[in-house]
């Protein structure tokens, strides 16, 4: 009953002061950003963070949550209509969404996408409301030793599972951790890797680096590839059919649970959630032959999984200050910029904030549903904007985003450098999620390792012998073992 009262309190706090207006425009921007190939949810949240500097923390978080939820949903529009995922999260939706569109069922596919996404976010939000507060209280037992392992676990999990090459994932993670060490450290204010440069001594700002890695690098990637071809599919009714939902309730629950769980794992994100949900639905399906040829069940699974991942990815942000996905990492940075301190102490300093986030997610989900029903034709026109006209505008917004937080021209150079490094790393097939997680978790790892060593007088044994520490250490080792080919094979055979 307390939880219900808290949720009602969360809504009462969030609604008002033009909240609906902010939710409407922010979700719309999110959907447009997500729908446009080349613009990702991470970039959308990073760029919109700039716009929220002048807002209060409540409104700023509402705007950013709406952009995040909208962008993940918007990606499926281009996946269905163009066979090009608007965001990496929607890649799984192309498999069945586009074949449905080619069969003249684009409207029905979008209806499935809308209902699956709506239910997925709602499912994940319910899990967040139920478990985040108690997990937050449990996380209060975490000391420096445990927080060190939480950071290390995040890097290892993101490296192992974020797609592609685990070895490169680890390298990207440690490069991120190294980047986070540049600038003055906290114990002695010694400027590390500054080489006498005052700007470098101030450290590399998180937002300019993220805008570079996700904005500038994406502009470069988009301008290099072939142009998007125009869609030529007739669109039937986009109103979700009740039968499409009731006939696949098991898929929705399974995908919702999987999506939320994967979201809560540090650094994995919506694309892994969508693929895992899709693969699980296919394994459990009685009509596997339809997968890849326009399976309603497959599309429902992918959409539910990716959208359930959004609230899931916010759970570790609120309870451990560890992001579950790349957009959640930017959201966490924005929380810090606005003076909200996510992490274990949130359960003491602002326990009501968790329920406010729940209210924001539900509002964003409702607005997303509204746009899903009315925003079909206009979005189709937006999708056809030539990239040569869109990308320079995005680049201008990136520049503003990098500069606005501290008004330093140096940050624009940081953005350019991060963009170049990000582009090269992508070309060499290094995953970006571990890099971002490393940059975000670098400070957490740095402080807690040194604090732990000081507390124990140089003795490393508490890192391995305290009960929670030991458990986290074991989980980290298991996650690392996953990336050893033989071990992963054994695991997959057992779960198949």
């Amino acid at each position: 009953m307390d939880a219900l009262n808290n949720v009602v309190g969360g809504f009462a706090h969030v609604l008002g002061g033009g909240a609906v207006f902010h939710a409407l425009w922010a979700t719309l921007i999110g959907i447009v950003v997500g729908a446009l190939p080349g613009l990702t949810a991470t970039m959308g949240v990073a760029l919109l963070t700039t716009l929220t500097f002048g807002m209060g923390p409540d409104k700023a978080m509402l705007v950013l949550v709406c952009v995040y939820v909208g962008a993940i949903y918007g990606g499926s529009r281009s996946a269905i209509l163009l066979n090009i995922p608007g965001t990496p999260a929607s890649a799984a939706s192309t498999l069945d969404g586009f074949p449905l569109a080619r069969q003249g069922l684009a409207g029905r596919a979008m209806g499935i996408s809308t209902s699956g996404s709506w239910l997925g976010t709602l499912f994940g939000t319910a899990i967040l409301a139920l478990f985040a507060p108690s997990f937050g209280e449990f996380a209060l037992q975490f000391g420096s030793y445990e927080m060190f392992w939480v950071a290390m676990f995040g890097i290892v999990v993101a490296g192992s599972l974020s797609g592609g090459d685990a070895l490169k994932g680890y390298i990207a993670g440690f490069l991120g951790l190294f980047i986070a060490t540049i600038g003055q450290e906290t114990n002695h204010a010694y400027p590390r890797f500054a080489f006498g440069n005052g700007d470098l001594a101030g450290g590399l700002g998180l937002l300019p680096v993220l805008v570079g890695v996700f904005g500038v690098a994406e502009v470069l990637s988009a301008m290099r590839g072939p142009a998007v071809k125009a869609v030529s599919s007739k669109i039937d009714s986009v109103i979700p059919r009740i039968r499409d939902v009731t006939a696949h309730w098991k898929t929705i629950i399974r995908s919702g649970a999987l999506g939320t769980f994967i979201g809560a794992m540090p650094g994995l994100g919506e694309d892994i959630a969508a693929w895992t949900s899709y693969a699980a639905a296919k394994r459990a399906s009685k009509e596997r032959e339809k997968y890849g040829r326009g399976s309603i069940e497959g599309l429902m699974a992918a959409e539910t999984g990716e959208s359930a991942c959004v609230p899931g990815a916010i759970i570790p942000v609120l309870t451990l200050a560890v992001p579950g996905s790349a957009p959640a990492a930017v959201l966490m940075a924005a929380m810090m910029i606005h003076g909200l301190n996510p992490g274990p102490m949130l359960a003491i300093t602002a326990p009501e904030f968790i329920y406010q986030i729940v209210a924001m997610l539900v509002i964003a989900d409702m607005v997303k549903m509204f746009y899903g029903l009315v925003l079909v034709r206009p979005l189709l026109w937006i999708l056809l904007i030539p990239r040569a006209r869109l990308m320079p505008v995005v680049f201008v917004l990136c520049t503003v985003g990098a500069f606005a937080i501290t008004s330093r021209l140096f940050d624009i150079w940081v953005m350019l450098g991060a963009g170049l490094v990000g582009f090269i790393l992508r070309e060499l097939r290094f995953p970006m999620a571990p890099l971002v997680l490393g940059i975000v978790l670098g400070d957490l790892l740095d402080k807690n390792l040194l604090r732990g060593l000081v507390l124990s007088g140089g003795d490393v044994s508490p890192f391995f012998t305290r009960p929670i520490s030991m458990g986290l250490c074991a989980l980290t080792v298991l996650a690392a073992a996953w990336s050893i080919p033989g071990m992963a094979g054994i695991f997959r055979r057992r779960t198949a």
């Binding site: 716009l51 797609g163 070895l167 590390r192 890797f193 290099r224 693969a279 060499l428």
Partner: protein, 176 residues
């Protein structure tokens, strides 16, 4: 992406980098790792303040540098096992792709690195967007070029003015 790929969500969606590219990457990363270790080693230890040296600023970056160096050796050995220097990957993209990439990179550098901070931001942005659109739409041919140039000018001007109004006047942010 084919249907079969969906069976394993953890498989990368792109072809792996070539062994030669991985080998070069491994050498660069190893050099970076060693450089980090050397820099970290040369940082002051602050023994007089802490007594133990456990708060030395170089400990954590030194650890990261060591891991990067170690993992780069593994990357290099793996690349060698896959054929090493002899195996080159397919060229990434066509010559036109590379030209487009270079054009975008140069225009971005001139704008963000050269014009921003020296030219009024709205004007710099308008010129950048105009030049970018023209550069990429020039190859569409002479037919309709005048219209495209006018449209590019309007998009550039619109972007410059809109960014100034929205960020500076509406959201009260400082622009470069």
């Amino acid at each position: 992406m084919s249907e079969a790929d969906a069976a394993s969500p953890f498989d990368g969606e792109k072809a792996p980098a070539s062994p030669r590219a991985d080998l070069v990457t491994a050498v660069v990363l190893f050099a970076l790792g060693v450089a980090i270790i050397v820099q970290a080693w040369e940082m002051p230890r602050f023994l007089e303040q802490s007594g133990t040296g456990l708060t030395a600023p170089g400990i954590v970056p030194g650890f990261h540098g060591a891991v990067i160096a170690l993992l780069s050796i593994v990357l290099g050995l793996r690349a060698r096992a896959r054929g090493g220097w002899a195996v080159r990957g397919a060229a990434t993209g066509t010559a036109a792709d590379r030209r487009q990439l270079a054009t975008a990179a140069v225009l971005g550098l001139v704008y963000a690195g050269g014009m921003v901070g020296r030219v009024p931001f709205w004007l710099a942005s308008a010129l950048f967007v105009f030049a970018f659109v023209i550069a990429f739409e020039w190859e569409l041919g002479p037919r309709g070029r005048t219209r495209r140039i006018v449209e590019a000018a309007l998009i550039g001007l619109g972007t410059g003015i809109a960014v100034m109004l929205v960020f500076e006047k509406l959201f009260l942010l400082r622009l470069p």
